[in-house]
Symmetry: C2
Subunit: 224 residues, 2 copies
DNA sequence: CCCGTCCCCTGATGGTCCGTCAGGCGCGGG
DNA sequence: CCCGCGCCTGACGGACCATCAGGGGACGGG
């Protein structure tokens, strides 16, 4: 995390100078427009010239602040990674016992959904970049969910210790659960396309998380 | 599925003629090279001219058979969707009772891993395209996992009926489980980067699938 | 108020790739 | 052997990339 902040603070334009107020404003405008265009058009067709035009400036200006389009997206991704801290906090600060535990699972589920809604365009580019082996994106991708996973693994380990029960590998289990959260959050629209209501998905996921974390059956649903 | 086959059979070159033997061979070579380049380079930098060069032909030839790069990838994706049938079969033909049920879950997990290993480059493009709202990719994306999900939902519904237990929404539950399988399969390398052994992940996932499908606790692991 | 200096921005440019013609090559039938 | 059709390609206008050198605006000192 510290390193990310450094990258953001140690701002340099292409020619090595440290940008002043106006320069940083322009850079920020370019970032905002990049995010905006990523939301409205496709990654593959995202062109420097479009971003520049949208920001009311010229391509050359863009290259003053970023080496290429990926560089700009990378900055957006770093900001996003910082934001993922709030997911960690839910896992760490919530209780996982009994009914309250299930509520924590619900809260975590909702937080993932919200996080994805907010950052979807950037996440999918990071995902793609990471899978294609781009080191810059791999690093972010790792950091993005690593913290939540580790925190959840700690929780699982704690519960296993209490119950003197050596179960599944805590990290593997946590990773699996986070994978569930991430993928369901990513594909909410697919579920809706299949005619599945969001509320039902939410419950399925939360129960899965609760069981996977605590090893305890969630409350039975009211049967009919 | 029938529709896919039709698309493949009803081949037309750009000028409307039906390609003969040589033409189809060229087209196939272009497809193979597209797949190959997708594996070795990034989607964003995938250029028509590179595919053509790799196939020992010219860009104009490429445009004889495909409207653009996405069209070619779409064909690869359709072939992949057909292959997903094997996942459906595992769910439908396997038993889900007791120990054998857990074995079915393991088998399904392994099959997902293998499927992703084989098709990863194409899958990630389909994913991206679908998320970006491209209709062509959305359709494939839907078909890709829809069949497995529906089949798994049927299984879940059957089990719920046997036990006279109205639990979670079967489709939502199946979707959640498939999401787990898909995302873990997609990110095997991340797990390994975190120092988690594939074997541990496999067990975590299979247990989740088994529990999520049958509602029964999997066999306890040998404790120590 | 004016002016010099320092940032910041941009117009212009050579190069790559796109997407599309008209035209040429080769193969198989007559 | 040669004709004709199916297949391929060279070449081109247009778009975008990435990079200069130089112009214009802000800001402080006089």
């Amino acid at each position: 995390m510290v390193e990310l902040v450094e990258v953001i603070d140690d701002l340099r334009a292409a020619d090595g100078r440290v940008p002043g107020r106006r320069g940083r404003a322009t850079r920020q405008r370019l970032l905002d427009c990049t995010a905006e265009m990523l939301r409205t058009s496709s990654y593959r067709s995202l062109k420097v010239i479009d971003i520049a035009r949208e920001a009311g400036t010229s391509p050359a200006t863009f290259y003053q602040y970023f080496g290429d389009v990926e560089d700009a997206i990378l900055v957006l991704a770093q900001e996003m990674a910082l934001d993922s801290e709030r997911l960690v906090r839910i896992v760490g600060e919530g209780t996982w016992k009994g009914k309250a535990g299930y509520r924590t699972a619900l809260e975590l589920t909702d937080a993932f959904f919200a996080f994805w809604d907010q950052h979807r365009p950037v996440i999918r580019v990071v995902d793609l970049g990471a899978e294609e082996g781009d080191r810059r994106f791999r690093k972010i991708h790792l950091e993005l969910l690593n913290n939540v996973t580790v925190q959840l693994a700690e929780t699982i380990k704690g519960i296993q210790a209490e119950e003197r029960n050596l179960g599944v590998h805590p990290l593997a289990q946590a990773g699996t659960l986070v994978a569930t959260l991430a993928n369901v959050a990513a594909h909410q629209h697919s579920f809706e396309a299949w005619g599945i209501r969001a509320a039902d998905v939410r419950i399925s996921v939360a129960r899965q998380i609760f069981w996977g974390t605590t090893g305890q059956r969630p409350q039975p649903l009211r049967s009919g």
